[in-house]
Amino acid sequence: MAVSVDPPQVTQKHLAKMGWTYTFLADPQDQAIRRYDLVDPEAGQGIARPAEFLIDPTGTVRWLDLTDDFRVRTRPETVLATFDRLAAGGGTGGGR
């Protein structure tokens, strides 16, 4: 699931363009990104810094990646490897 500060209309156009079909929530009022303390004041009002969380069914954070570089995002293979490690009973830990 992804959360973006873009309004739903912008998000829908982006999803249609990219062909993505997973759940994509719009947070134009910054409610979610404020609760997660992900607001980036340097980038302007209401812009989120990139972040990825793996949350288990109980709502517990099992893994997170707060990248230190705006351009460098978690790659899918990294998330899948983390899934495998957690499913195998491996320890938890941060991504970067």
């Binding site: 959360v3 739903p8 998000t11 829908q12 999803l15 249609a16 993505w20 079909t21 997973y22 759940t23 994509f24 929530l25 979610a32 609760r35 997660y36 303390d37 992900l38 607001v39 980036d40 004041p41 340097e42 810094r49 990139p50 972040a51 969380f53 949350i55 709502g59 517990t60 954070v61 099992r62 893994w63 997170l64 707060l66 990248t67 230190d68 570089d69 705006f70 351009r71 460098v72 995002r73 790659r75 938890t92 830990g93 941060g94």
Partner: protein
């Protein structure tokens, strides 16, 4: 003897411009060239190499080439472009907040509540109103159901091919 124009600095400067622009237009799309912009640094190396070669030519062979000041100016501009790219990719993109209040591993994540109806992204796209089934065109109603009795026209070759494949 007429001295020749020295195009190498201009070519190098254009390559440097290409190296800068191509990152945001092209290479940013691919993680392998976005995370570490090696392709752009290769282009910058090529461009700066051309600029250096072009700047040296009129100084070493003044009887053959002209454009000392032009070459030096283009070299300075090329260096500025490369320096700005280095700043953007090494310093500017790292200006991120610490997010000290973000949930840590092992903590409960703040709950997210969707204000609207839960709708997967794929569901946001309505099915096309017109459809083709068994070689006949029809129209869906407002609920997306096929209206078999409302045929819109004769089937054409493409729809027959689709039916065959299906």
């Amino acid at each position: 003897m007429d001295r020749r124009r020295n195009f190498l600095p201009l070519a190098g400067f254009l390559v440097c411009l290409l190296a800068f622009v191509s990152y945001f237009v092209l290479f940013y799309r691919f993680p392998v060239t976005r995370d570490v912009p090696w392709a752009n640094w290769l282009l910058f190396a090529l461009g700066l190499g051309l600029v250096v070669a072009g700047v040296r030519r009129p100084f070493r062979q003044p009887e053959r080439y002209r454009g000392r000041w032009t070459g030096a100016t283009l070299a300075l501009l090329s260096l500025l472009v490369a320096g700005f790219f280095a700043f953007v990719t090494m310093v500017g993109s790292r200006q991120l907040p610490a997010s000290a209040g973000a949930p840590k591993v092992g903590q409960k994540a703040p709950e997210l509540r969707a204000a609207g109806p839960e709708r997967p992204a794929g569901a946001a796209l309505r099915p096309p109103r017109r459809y083709c089934r068994r070689g006949r065109w029809g129209r869906r109603d407002r609920r997306g159901r096929r209206g078999g009795a409302r045929l819109l026209g004769r089937p054409h070759l493409l729809s027959r091919l689709l039916v065959t494949v299906l």
